[in-house]
Symmetry: C2
Subunit: 590 residues, 2 copies
């Protein structure tokens, strides 16, 4: 219907007749002439409708915001003084000859440039209006472009795009499955996949050698800020590989995509063992843009006359750590109180601090509620953290887990609040993860998943599982885990050993993972892989504030779609076909 | 781990040391030497292990079928007389220096070259073994390649890849939805999409202009031979377009893919109105490779003294049609009986026929149980169908729907049985579909779906809906519907008119389609699109006998996965969280 996109017009089209189709973005009457800003996918062009073209003028006159118009007209240079240097089409305008109204529009629920006046719920309900905002549309266009770059990059490396099932069996990724009742198999349910993990491993056993898929995954979790019940994963797996092969391919892909899409060179990603990340940053996904580091001071605190410190300092599972903030002595009492509340979210029972107002011998010039306990060790302490005049030192003292989480989060918050960032992008690999983590009851869970290969023999694993490392690796960017993966177990005995450590009985192994154990005994190759969270990656790359901005039709935090009103009610007949009844209903009937 | 793929080796690698990884495809001992055919993704290479390399020999000697080996060795020319011209690697072999067993294998459930000895159920249970067969693996590799070509083709044309939700609201595509109980919204259910239809229309309303997605779709139907509960659609939609734009883009894409992947030039696709397809071929997806055509003979039969023919001939909803088969007089009584049974599947109560053994005036030389009724009209009949000596004419006489289905199916069966194909590929577009079809109770259903634009005004539609045509189009190849689409309704009044014709009350419209009706009133552009069945396309292109051959992990015809044993049972706790109970269980408890 059109000859050009509105947004593509420029002075190279001068004196050409063009046909444009689009939406009335703005309308102004000025000196008896109507100015229409016509918007389409590629941008906005100014259309001038003169009263001379009577019919066209009458139609333009009736047009309101978001009317859909088709306009035939002549491209001409804008009069001197009306050129708009901020628009790609700002040097030209289109003098309309014909105006056709393709569709009218009622007054939209909100004006595109006034979206801030309505809440997110209204914008989600009228998502098709909100997505017309150029900055929203651009995020999805960017996503489409980058997704295709990723595909090209993986195809070039010989990865095969293979689809795995959505209706499948419950997989043990740790989260809750979405279930789908089967009509033909009474009382049985499919599960929606939390990831294609086992299927991609089976594709390796089948000999496909290199697999990828941009795959929908599902988790029925209580949603936090940046979770969605369905999310998209860039999933890859390869055979006859070691860590360096997969990490190299994945790092190369991310580097290429940043280069091509953002013009950003991420450089070579440093590798950091998990233990170092926890010690220095209190996190297994450290934000390396922030120069703050946790420093262990437990040895100094073991004998201070302050139980809050000396207790954790002498507890094998405790930790006492300091976090020095350069220039932080300027923080107000109110700010410090707020940070104290903040670390409380992570279980910390307080936030001790020392301000170094003027460094001197002893306690001179130091301001702190706790400094009185430090008399004998204060010089050592200040030296160790490298404190200078004007700094503040925060302390965490508790179980190591709590100290790491609290000070790790505080570190990121301080980085943001005080704008301490030393660079725009800080990628790294975290490696050498423990194979297991301890639950509160002393049992063990897989830190990644039970198909991750340990760095030891099955016997060594079973003898002392808690201290064994795995062959897992996580890619971290700016404090966000972009992706994670591992070399997998390809040996049945090792897989069974891991299951035993996890307390999965032989019977349960057979029932839940029989097909995997079978596959491992018929010639499974060494293999490994990785999965990226595509939504998260897009959010980082576009600078979006919420994951919902990079998803066309996202769910709310209560896992609902306010536009289509999903989930919805279903009829008794449908339930009966599925051999189900609602529990409340059943009780009422009983 | 490897330096080369097994299948890539040739004489250009002579005298090079290579490292191969793969599976023992075959093992032979010959003259004290071990020959291993090592298989990987790209093919098979012959490895020779000499007793001189003691350790390697011992390991090769222990290796059995499907062991996973890593082999270091030297590429050398095969001795004269042992070259295998059927293998790409047939001129060379690898003299092993080292053999490493990466994994062992128990005797597999079936040998790859003896897969025919086991049933499909066993092959599906051990899918990861069955997929090792080179012809199976090649189908999925082909699918991956073609899918990427399709993406490239659509990206080049400016289509944006946008993901739509899997957890959504029931959509009215006619089939049964898969439901997903919501845990957070008690008694409410998501539905898995039967297609992204409404979402892609909303993306057009949002102004994305050109959308595509290779999308998973779901239908909980009783499975026929070539259906799967989940299937994959190449889904596209564009704004400010007419039929020719979408059909042109889609046809260009399919033509390009056939050219690039199969070296086949499909040429320009002919267009055929629905009414012509039904009249000439008894089908809206005619297989034009077969030269047989249905010929109307109702006018001739109106007055014959044979109720079976004269009845339908004078019934406005009846049809009497002839199907002449050149050389068909050679069909045996047994064959004709079989065809009579065959048309019975489609509701035909018999299959009348006339053999033209020797054409002569009157009934001379004609052999038929019914020819006696034809006395007055036989010459006209033979002329009309162009019968010659040695031909047979079959007849269908019943309601038009039954005649079309029965003779349409018979036409295809005869084409296959007698190998009447005149070409390898016969694509076409079927156009000018009726907007509605009549149900047995006289009510109307949408022939495509209720969002298809009719070729008339809302008033004309409501005045006489049954005879109105739609702006739909189907792409047909070799008697299979590859894809279908339409120009959609972009006007609220028209959409409401269609809903009214379908008997959907204003209240039900609001409840089920409120968000669509809203979207249509806020400036919906004219738009249309199309969706291809990717599985079906792959099946045709690879010549697969079943859709299950082009899907990595398909379901059986009872919608189950015998490998993972899905669907499976779930715990009472899980059901309780979802506020559900099994109906049987509930009854037992009551």
């Amino acid at each position: 219907m059109r000859s050009h996109y509105c947004g593509d017009l420029n002075t190279s089209h001068l004196d050409q007749e063009v046909v444009l189709c689009g939406w009335v973005h703005r309308r102004r009457d000025h000196g008896g002439v109507i100015f229409l800003d016509l918007r389409d996918r590629n941008g906005i062009a100014q259309v001038v409708v003169d009263p001379d073209t009577e019919e066209a003028f009458a139609r333009a006159d009736r047009s309101r915001s978001e009317y859909v118009l088709k306009i035939r007209g002549l491209v001409r240079r804008r009069p001197e003084g009306t050129v708009n240097a901020n628009m790609s089409t700002g040097e030209i305008e289109v003098l309309a000859k014909d105006v056709e109204v393709l569709n009218t529009s009622e007054t939209p629920p909100f004006m595109l440039d006034e979206f801030g006046k309505v809440g997110e719920e209204v914008r989600l309900k009228y998502r098709y209006v909100d997505l017309r905002r150029p900055e929203m549309a651009e995020k999805l266009r960017f996503r489409s472009r980058v997704t295709h770059q990723i595909r090209n990059c993986l195809e070039e490396q010989g990865f095969l795009d293979i689809e795995t099932p959505i209706l499948t069996r419950a997989t043990p990724e740790g989260a809750r499955d979405y279930l789908v009742p089967s009509r033909t198999h009474e009382g049985h349910f499919f599960a929606l996949p939390q990831s294609p993990q086992l299927f991609k491993q089976l594709l390796m056993v089948a000999g496909f050698d290199r697999y990828y898929q941009i795959a929908k995954c599902f988790r029925d979790e209580d949603l936090r800020a940046d979770r969605q019940p369905e999310f998209t994963q860039i999933d890859m797996e390869a055979s006859f590989v070691e860590e360096a092969d997969i990490m190299g391919a994945a790092e190369g892909m991310i580097r290429k995509v940043f280069q091509e899409s953002l013009g950003v060179d991420l450089g070579v990603f440093p590798h950091m063992p998990y233990s170092e990340a926890m010690n220095r940053y209190g996190s297994d996904k450290p934000d390396l843009r922030i120069p703050l580091e946790l420093v262990d001071v437990g040895d100094l605190m073991a004998n201070v006359d302050f139980k809050v410190f000396s207790g954790p300092a002498t507890d094998p599972k405790g930790r006492v750590a300091a976090l020095k903030v350069k220039g932080g002595a300027e923080l107000s009492r109110k700010q410090i109180d707020d940070y104290t509340k903040f670390v409380g979210i992570y279980g910390a029972r307080g936030l001790a601090w020392i301000k170094i107002n003027k460094r001197a011998d002893g306690l001179d010039g130091l301001q702190s509620p706790i400094v009185k306990f430090m008399e004998g060790i204060i010089d050592q302490l200040l030296d160790r953290v490298g404190a200078e005049d004007g700094d503040i030192i925060f302390f965490g003292a508790d179980k190591a887990k709590i100290v790491n989480e609290a000070l790790g989060a505080l570190r990121c918050k301080l980085g943001e609040d005080l704008n301490l960032y030393t660079c725009e992008w800080a990628p790294l690999w975290v490696v050498d993860f423990p194979m297991f983590e301890e639950n509160s009851d002393g049992s063990l869970s897989a830190l990644h998943h039970p198909f991750t290969s340990p760095k030891c023999t099955p016997d060594e694993l079973e003898a002392s599982p808690a201290d064994k490392l795995s062959r897992a690796y996580d890619m971290v960017l700016n404090g966000t885990e972009l992706g994670g993966g591992s070399i997998r177990i390809h040996n049945q005995a090792m897989q069974q050993a891991v299951f035993r450590v996890l307390g999965i009985s032989a019977e349960e192994q057979r029932e839940k993972f029989g097909f995997l154990l079978d596959a491992l005994k018929f010639g499974a190759p060494p293999h490994g892989g990785l999965a990226f969270g595509l939504d998260r990656l897009m959010m980082l790359m576009t600078g979006a504030k919420s994951i919902r901005e990079v998803i066309a039709f996202p769910k709310t935090q209560s896992a609902a779609c306010v536009m289509t009103d999903a989930p919805g009610e279903v009829s008794q007949a449908q339930l009966k076909e599925l051999n189900l009844r609602l529990r409340v209903k059943a009780q009422a009937e009983d």
